[in-house]
């Protein structure tokens, strides 16, 4: 793999196996994962829980070591010079990681001081970030009094205090209510533009990857199964998705749909059938007629433009939402 000079982060063929827990087999968390992030862009690692996203972040942020493979962050090798990497990165971990017994401002100043800023530089940067993230009014309050959305913004501010070259956002909106999530998305979008920071984002929300990321890498079983811009990924799926909800599961429903002209890639998942069609609208009458003839009762039919969910199904072979919920 030739290193890309503009890349803020390059990881190649990372593997990591965790030793067996009580009686269980060892867990292969990463199985040759490769990913890169160009300077100033956002890349999303999209996958269900346990796919290997967080292990990747742990390795790239020097918290854990890969069993094999190489990784450079901001041009620095993570295993050879972890301390150098730590100066160049910011980490917003899954859980809120501010000190609850310190104020927002104190949290930021401490993080800045640890990164080597002088007291006045840390204070200045803290004030700047608090204002930027709309936390100026809460700057003097203890972090434990912050709402979920505010605490998350403070986490992001802490990650940015030293103007890192690469910012890691590990599931930044998990556990936030929809309003706070929308606010966070707006914030992250602005950040990547203003701070010239490369962002590696992990998420199990398709919509989040679609909205925020310049490029999406779908991760499953410890490797990247497909990677590209959201549009590229979607456009590789030609046509529309036709989704049929049946009243009751029917074993032969897939076979019935496969005979409908213009319909392909039929799959079934309980009472839900999915298929692709060049033009969804034109395919629907044929679908309904065929199911009706075979005596299969239909609850609803929907036609949709390709989504990342379809991309996920195609490459991982399972539906995303159910995997994520499992």
């Amino acid at each position: 793999m030739s290193p890309n000079p503009a890349a803020a982060l390059v990881a190649a063929e990372l593997t990591k196996t965790y030793p067996a827990g009580r009686g269980g087999p060892p867990v292969r968390a990463l199985d040759g994962l490769s990913v890169s992030v160009a300077a100033g862009t956002i890349v999303a690692l999209l996958g269900r829980n346990g796919a290997g996203k967080s292990t990747t972040v742990k390795i790239l942020t020097t918290l854990a070591r890969a069993d094999s493979g190489t990784a450079e962050v901001a041009g620095i090798d993570v295993s050879r010079d972890p301390d150098g990497v730590r100066h160049a990165i910011g980490l917003v971990s899954q859980k809120s990681s501010s000190d609850p017994m310190a104020t927002g401002r104190e949290n930021l100043v401490l993080a800045g001081r640890i990164q080597g800023l002088s007291r006045s530089a840390a204070r200045g940067r803290a004030a700047e970030l608090l204002a930027r993230l709309d936390l100026a009014d809460a700057a003097g309050r203890l972090a434990k009094t912050y709402s979920g959305g505010m605490a998350r913004k403070l986490d992001v501010a802490i990650g940015l205090v030293h103007r890192p070259r690469v910012l890691f956002l590990d599931e930044p909106t998990t556990g936030l209510d929809p309003e706070a999530r929308a606010a966070m998305w707006a914030e992250i979008g602005r950040l990547s533009a203003d701070e010239q920071t490369a962002i590696l984002l992990t998420t199990h929300y398709l919509e989040e990857a679609d909205r925020l990321a310049d490029r999406v890498a779908i991760v499953d079983a410890g490797r990247v199964v497909v990677e590209g811009t959201p549009d590229e990924l979607k456009s590789e799926l030609r046509g529309d998705t036709v989704q049929v909800e049946l009243v009751a599961g029917a074993a032969h429903a897939v076979a019935v749909l496969e005979r409908v002209p213009g319909l392909g890639e039929v799959s079934a998942d309980g009472t839900r059938l999915r298929a692709r069609a060049e033009s969804g609208a034109q395919a629907v009458p044929g679908v309904l007629a065929a199911l009706d003839e075979s005596g299969i009762a239909v609850a609803s039919v929907t036609v949709a433009r390709p989504s990342l969910d379809d991309v996920y199904v195609r490459h991982v072979g399972r539906e995303f939402a159910e995997e994520a919920a499992a």
Binding site: S96, M101, Q115, R163
Partner: protein, 284 residues
């Protein structure tokens, strides 16, 4: 406020290796100071907890002081200069240090649970500073508690012929035992990573250490086996050293080796905590 623009930051990642290594010691000191300050600030913001840490030794002192007032009459009990209150003051000081430092590791577990630990480990903070920070904080707390116990004892009529030197040795002994136990507690915290398990283990260690020493009872009137065990008990080293220094006739030949043992044990426990840190990181 929003228009403050910070000057461009030096890119430390680009600093030459030698310069960075030379900065390492400075960084260790600075980071230790930051983290100690954080711990002290947290303590000051929890008035209820602060009150409990301060009230506890007072209760030990007055409760035991009253309860066992007459043990000094047992034949063979030291009671060189007099009252049982004077006898147990160093005992209660060491006991207080012991109990509060047994809890030290709970801070690590809270930090792990909240993700603060991971954030710190992904930052350039020196690992040593994360240990030194908690130990410095423990020593600070112990010093304040020790002085308060002395104050209460004095107000209750205890007098110590050892004077300022005696007080100094007592503070030192209490801080050393506090560092030993806090390091142990930190190491256990990093290994078990669970609050209940840590507290269980810590109580299991601390209580026997406490009672198999001369803190509240002269071992000369205890069964012989207790006397033997106490000789190898760091809590007894601290108590005996402090008590001797506080008496009018300090036996330095007994005090200095005990302080030396405590120091050596503190270093060993510090090493253990550092190794436990590595094991925690390997498990990530």
């Amino acid at each position: 406020m929003s228009t403050i623009s910070a000057p461009p930051l030096p890119t430390m990642a680009a600093a030459p290796d030698g310069a960075r290594r030379a900065n390492a010691t400075g960084a260790l000191l600075r980071h230790s100071t930051f983290l100690t300050a954080r711990a002290v600030r947290t303590l000051l913001r929890q008035p209820a907890y602060l009150a409990i840490t301060l009230v506890q030794p007072v209760i030990w002192l007055l409760l035991f002081g009253q309860l066992f007032r007459n043990v000094v009459r047992i034949p063979g009990f030291t009671a060189a200069s007099g009252s049982y209150l004077e006898f147990i003051t160093p005992g209660v000081i060491v006991m207080t240090a012991l109990f509060s430092s047994g809890w030290a590791g709970t801070v690590y577990i809270e930090d792990m649970d909240r993700g603060v630990m991971d954030r710190l480990l992904a930052s350039p903070v020196r690992r040593g500073a994360m240990i030194v920070g908690t130990l410095a904080y423990q020593s600070l707390t112990t010093t304040v508690q020790t002085l308060i116990v002395f104050g209460i004892a004095y107000a209750s009529g205890a007098r110590f012929d050892g004077g300022a030197v005696g007080v100094l040795v007592t503070v030192l002994a209490a801080c050393l035992i506090s560092v030993v136990i806090a390091s142990f507690s930190n190491a256990i915290a990093l290994l078990v990573r669970q609050q209940e398990a840590l507290i269980g283990i810590s109580q299991f260690i601390v209580l026997p250490l406490q009672f198999l020493s001369s803190s509240i009872m002269d071992t000369r009137v205890s069964p012989a086996w207790v006397r033997h065990v106490a000789r190898y008990n760091p809590v007894d080293w601290a108590t005996t050293a402090a008590r001797s220094a506080l008496s009018g006739h300090a036996e330095w030949g007994a005090i200095l080796p005990r302080l030396g043992f405590l120091l050596a044990l503190a270093v060993a426990m510090g090493r253990l905590a550092t190794r436990a840190f590595r094991s925690y990181q390997r498990s990530l």
